[in-house]
């Protein structure tokens, strides 16, 4: 399982490239690759900007019915999210963006899990399955 640091804008680009590679190698269609890479870009930027940096992990997973998926973990030890439901609302923004990053990323993947504790950090895990 690859672990990638997210400490700069260049690291976000590297995460995108690695996710693209994993998605292409594991049979995701071009549209699904693009959706997963876009979601990864949003989440990696959140880790950098709101989490103060962190790590991404890329994992290849199998479903019970034999489908292959790409699972991504984004983890930071930043300030955390006080109100997760609010943060996942379309158009709600902490100030700098359009308020679509988190809610949009959730729509682009098949599985989405967010865990956050104020003061302890945030972890987001997403999966995109091959069709």
């Amino acid at each position: 399982m690859d672990e990638l640091p997210i400490q700069s804008g260049d690291d976000v680009v590297r995460v995108r490239q690695q996710v693209r590679g994993a998605a292409a190698e594991n049979g995701l269609s071009l549209v699904d690759q693009t959706k997963l890479v876009t979601a990864a870009s949003e989440l990696a930027r959140n880790t950098l900007v709101h989490g103060g940096g962190g790590v991404a992990r890329i994992e290849v997973v199998k479903s019970p019915n034999g489908r292959t998926g790409v699972k991504l973990h984004f983890t930071d030890e930043g300030p955390g999210i006080a109100d997760v439901d609010l943060a996942l609302t379309d158009g709600w923004t902490s100030g700098t963006g359009l308020g679509l990053g988190l809610s949009g990323a959730r729509r682009l993947v098949d599985e989405f899990e967010l865990n956050s504790k104020p003061g302890k950090g945030t972890s987001v895990v997403v999966v995109k399955w091959s069709r």
Binding site: T34, K35, T38, S41, E42, G104, A105, L108
Partner: protein
């Protein structure tokens, strides 16, 4: 951003009435890039220039829509030729 500064300088210097941005080579547009494109449209409008984004890949268009980005304030066209037609007032 360098691109926005260069664009504003060019618009002021040339008095151009249109801006075409070709994103054929762009593999993804996330909300960060989307915001940048929208801002380019806003800057251009202050110089009375219209912005047309051309060459968007099909997978990017599908993803943008699902992400919820509308790229408000900028027009889009299939390719540079169609973009020029818009700027020349043919459509």
């Amino acid at each position: 951003m360098r691109l926005q500064e260069d664009l504003a300088d060019e618009l002021a210097a040339t008095g151009a009435s249109g801006v075409i941005i070709d994103i054929t080579a762009v593999e993804i547009v996330d909300s960060f890039i989307g915001r940048m494109l929208t801002m380019i449209g806003s800057i251009s409008r202050l110089f009375d220039a219209e912005t047309v984004i051309v060459g968007m890949r099909p997978a990017v268009a599908i993803t943008l829509t699902e992400l919820g980005l509308s790229l408000s304030g900028v027009r889009t066209a299939l390719n540079a030729e169609k973009g020029l037609e818009i700027l020349n007032g043919k459509s």
